[in-house]
């Protein structure tokens, strides 16, 4: 068996990849945290603590998914020339950036969805009433017939 010769370019590639991927993830998570806070404060107006908690949990998920994915795609078959090393690095960073982009849009979707839900709760009925009873009818409460929101 031939002894495995470590590729001389692989170590710098790995170091560059690790620095860039961790830096990018941290940077993006901070942006997400800052801008997401605005959205969530609007949604959880009555419970600002809840807004902070949800925001933090979203950012934790973002870190876990991105760092995990970055670690998984780090391994490379080797690079014997400087050109190959640059290509390997570019391919990995490209894959990482695209995954970060997908994650980012997914996060934005979540923020919009959470916000939309809370906005819906205070909107008026979609149709105007066709008729008005002359006086508001006094409504006796029949507990058995009323469906309450839990």
């Amino acid at each position: 068996m031939e002894p495995v010769v470590p590729s001389p370019y692989l170590v710098p590639v790995y170091i560059a990849y690790a620095v860039v991927s961790v830096g990018l993830t941290i940077g993006l998570a901070r942006v997400l945290f800052r801008s997401g806070a605005v959205f969530l404060e609007d949604v959880f107006k009555e419970t600002p603590k809840m807004a902070g908690a949800v925001n933090q949990l979203l950012v934790v998920g973002f870190y876990l998914l991105n760092l995990g994915y970055a670690a998984l795609i780090m391994k490379s078959d080797g690079a014997s020339t400087a050109v190959q090393a640059a290509e390997v690095l570019a391919w990995k960073l490209g894959a990482l950036l695209i995954s970060l982009g997908v994650m980012h849009f997914f996060n934005m979707y979540l923020f919009f969805r959470i916000r939309r839900r809370s906005q819906l709760a205070v909107l008026p009925p979609p149709v105007a009433p066709q008729m008005r009873l002359p006086m508001p009818v006094a409504m006796p409460v029949h507990a058995a017939q009323i469906a309450h929101a839990p």
């Binding site: 009433p129 066709q130 008005r132 469906a147």
Partner: protein, 144 residues
């Protein structure tokens, strides 16, 4: 608005099923369910001409929705279907939804007979003050 009263046809098995569905759904506005055959419905909403003919929804402020509009407002009261009530009242889907609700409502006894034997709530057949002559459809609700 603090409460909605849904006046359904208690002599129609389909409507009774829908009532059971409403009663067990998560609501954003408390819903009171009243059969149009009940004395209470007649006493409280007797001057709504479409009572017993079409689905009627009344708010605690006296606003009345009839027919397709009533279906939409009932959906609007449900936590899981509020989004759909707006979608179905938008310009793209409103005409379709309206026809669908009118068809369901006018064919309800027939549809119910496919599902199960008719189950009458108060025992007797619904006799409404206006049942002797043909009622025109309620005026269309204006979409917001």
């Amino acid at each position: 608005m603090n409460r909605l009263t849904v006046v359904y046809d208690g002599a129609c098995a389909l409507c009774v099923r829908c009532r059971d569905f409403l009663a067990t759904s998560r609501t954003l506005v408390p819903i009171e369910l009243l059969s149009c055959q009940s004395r209470e419905a007649r006493e409280r909403y007797g001057n709504v001409p479409w009572l017993g003919e079409e689905l009627v929804v009344v708010s605690d402020e006296g606003d009345v929705w009839i027919g397709p509009a009533a279906f939409l407002v009932a959906m609007w009261a449900l936590a899981d279907y509020r989004e759909w009530s707006y979608r179905l009242s938008g310009p793209a889907l409103a005409p379709l939804a309206e026809r669908f609700f009118v068809a369901i409502s006018s064919q309800r006894r027939r549809i119910a007979s496919f599902l199960t034997k008719p189950r009458c709530e108060d025992g007797d057949v619904c006799t409404m003050p206006h049942a002797d002559h043909e009622l025109e459809h309620a005026p269309r609700g204006t979409y917001r």
